[in-house]
């Protein structure tokens, strides 16, 4: 556990969260999933993008929470919002209406084309499928937002060769699939993990390693990825979290008494 006063040391989760927040620089509106995406989006509001409009599927537009919400329906999200709309309106007019720049998603399983499974996992022969929470808003968030960011921890359990179920399409089986399916948005543009950042190769739409977090090696990332991960021509290294970023992140979390108990490994 990091002490809250030491800004020269930080956890991998903090690296992930800070870089996820940075990815929101310049965005106007973000459809925020709960958990890590919500941490990132709220951190962005407190650092790189104070004007970012946070949109939660519970119907809040422009929420400005002072602490991390435990659920997408925490009272503060509504109380601090510019507008609260019914859930059908949120999905039809705002999300499907193409009003939202960035969809920020987590995932249980992701494959090399940034397709997502949050429905069921195969637990081997003679065992019943393992049940995950399900789709929520993700299929239409990934389809209709201008672009999609993803944030999840890196492990072979999460980054898999083949999804057991495609809940939410990322890039399908390669370039052109989204267009063929008539999906308005550009789809996943970055997957931010606790080891680095993967982005789709423009030519193949396959996720490749483009940045490592400080102190992480390509080998570590490959070992945590369930497919033969390719790397970009040049693999960059992300800037270490600044003291200001870390202070903002830790303040958010301590205010939130977040339920993500395992945030700091």
């Amino acid at each position: 556990m990091t002490t809250t006063e030491d800004f020269t040391d930080f956890t991998r989760d903090e690296l992930m969260e800070v870089n996820a927040a940075r990815a929101l620089a310049g965005a106007r509106t973000c459809f925020v999933g709960i958990g890590l995406p919500s941490t990132a989006a709220n951190l962005a509001r407190n650092t790189v993008n104070p004007g970012l409009v946070l949109i939660y599927e519970s119907g809040t537009i422009g929420s400005k929470p002072t602490r991390l919400p435990l659920s997408i329906g925490d009272g503060e999200l509504a109380e601090t919002a510019d507008a609260v709309v019914p859930v059908p309106e949120m999905f039809n007019y705002w999300l499907q209406g193409g009003r939202i720049d960035v969809g920020f998603l987590g995932a249980a399983q992701v494959d090399r084309f940034a397709n997502i499974n949050t429905t069921v996992v195969d637990r081997g022969p003679d065992k019943p499928e393992g049940r995950l929470p399900g789709a929520g808003g993700a299929p239409e968030i990934a389809s209709n937002c201008g672009k999609v960011l993803m944030v999840l921890r890196h492990s072979t359990r999460n980054f898999v060769r083949r999804l057991d179920f495609v809940t939410t399409l990322g890039h399908g089986s390669g370039p052109g699939d989204r267009k063929e399916l008539g999906m308005p948005g550009a789809g996943p543009v970055a997957v931010i993990t606790d080891l680095g950042i993967l982005r789709p190769d423009p030519a193949t739409a396959e996720l490749v390693l483009t940045e490592l977090h400080p102190g992480i090696t390509v080998e570590q990332v490959r070992a945590a990825t369930g497919w033969e991960l390719k790397t970009a021509g040049t693999v960059g290294v992300t800037e270490p979290p600044s003291p200001a970023e870390l202070a903002a992140l830790r303040a958010l979390k301590s205010a939130g008494k977040s339920a993500e108990k395992d945030d700091a490994r």
């Binding site: 039809n92 999300l95 393992g130 999906m183």
Partner: protein
């Protein structure tokens, strides 16, 4: 016209074995007290509909009252899994649970179609997802103007919808405010509607973001202060996040769950929702 009744009588009269029952409330205003009354009365073989099943349906599923679940996201918000839901799906305990699974956009539009008394709704959804392969309530239609193929979802018209609201007046008109989710649609889509409320007031004062349901679309109103606990009612109660976190270990184990249900719901004939959990 809504009659103002006891929760016991309203549930007994309006909810029957085998019904399709929607208890809506998007993290806010979840009608827990009514669900507990369903448990106490042992109303069973239910098809439950809800966008986010949440702990409320974990309890009904674990109690063995549910044969089918219509939903789009089944977790304990901000905490993790719904263990009773998972146990039912994965192991058939205490009984097998049939699923009709959607995306949020699809579920919301199913209620919209239901409230509009249309047989289906159209959305640009489910594209590239395997979801449609596991349900017969997603199909497609072709736009007669552009030729674009779009998803069609079947209307959802529950036999009964139960919601929790802040206030009713003496005539049974109801107002809820804050996050109002899909409650209007779920209520207007149903054949019968029960609303539990925090209190009866002499006059409903229009509120910012308020949704008013006139008495003539409601069958019964029951006064149940705190009836949304551990969820909350803006202006009356706050979300009991600690309960949601405490639920995880309770629901993880069949025995612990059964004991909790016996102690805190089944024997709780005088309603003392939420007591003794932490």
């Amino acid at each position: 016209m809504a009659d103002i009744r006891s929760l016991h009588d309203a549930v007994a009269d309006l909810i029957h074995d085998g019904d399709t029952l929607a208890m809506e409330g998007f993290t806010h205003l979840i009608p827990y007290a009514a669900a507990h009354e369903v448990v106490r009365q042992g109303i069973t073989d239910l098809t439950l509909a809800r966008m986010t099943p949440d702990v409320i349906y974990d309890q009904l599923i674990g109690a063995g009252l549910v044969k089918k679940l219509i939903f789009s996201w089944g977790g304990n918000p901000g905490v993790g899994s719904l263990h009773r839901f998972r146990d039912a799906v994965e192991n058939g305990w205490p009984r097998p649970l049939e699923l009709d699974e959607h995306s949020h956009a699809g579920m919301a539009n199913r209620y919209v179609a239901g409230a509009s008394r249309l047989p289906f709704a159209v959305l640009r959804g489910y594209r590239g997802s395997d979801l449609a392969t596991r349900t017969d309530t997603v199909s497609s239609v072709t736009c007669p103007f552009t030729g674009e193929e779009l998803a069609a979802v079947a209307a959802l018209n529950p036999d009964v919808t139960v919601i929790h609201a802040q206030q009713a007046d003496h005539d049974g008109n109801v107002q809820l405010w804050g996050l109002t989710g899909v409650q209007k649609e779920a209520a207007l889509a149903a054949d019968r509607v029960l609303v539990t409320v925090e209190e009866i007031v002499d006059e409903l004062t229009p509120r910012p973001g308020g949704v008013v349901l006139p008495t003539w679309v409601i069958d019964a109103v029951a006064v149940v202060p705190g009836g949304a606990h551990p969820s909350y009612a803006t202006g009356y109660t706050v979300r009991d996040n600690a309960f949601y976190q405490a639920w995880d270990p309770i629901a993880r184990d069949r025995g612990t769950f059964a004991q909790w249900l016996d102690t805190h719901v089944r024997t709780d004939t005088v309603r003392t929702e939420g007591a003794g959990v932490r």
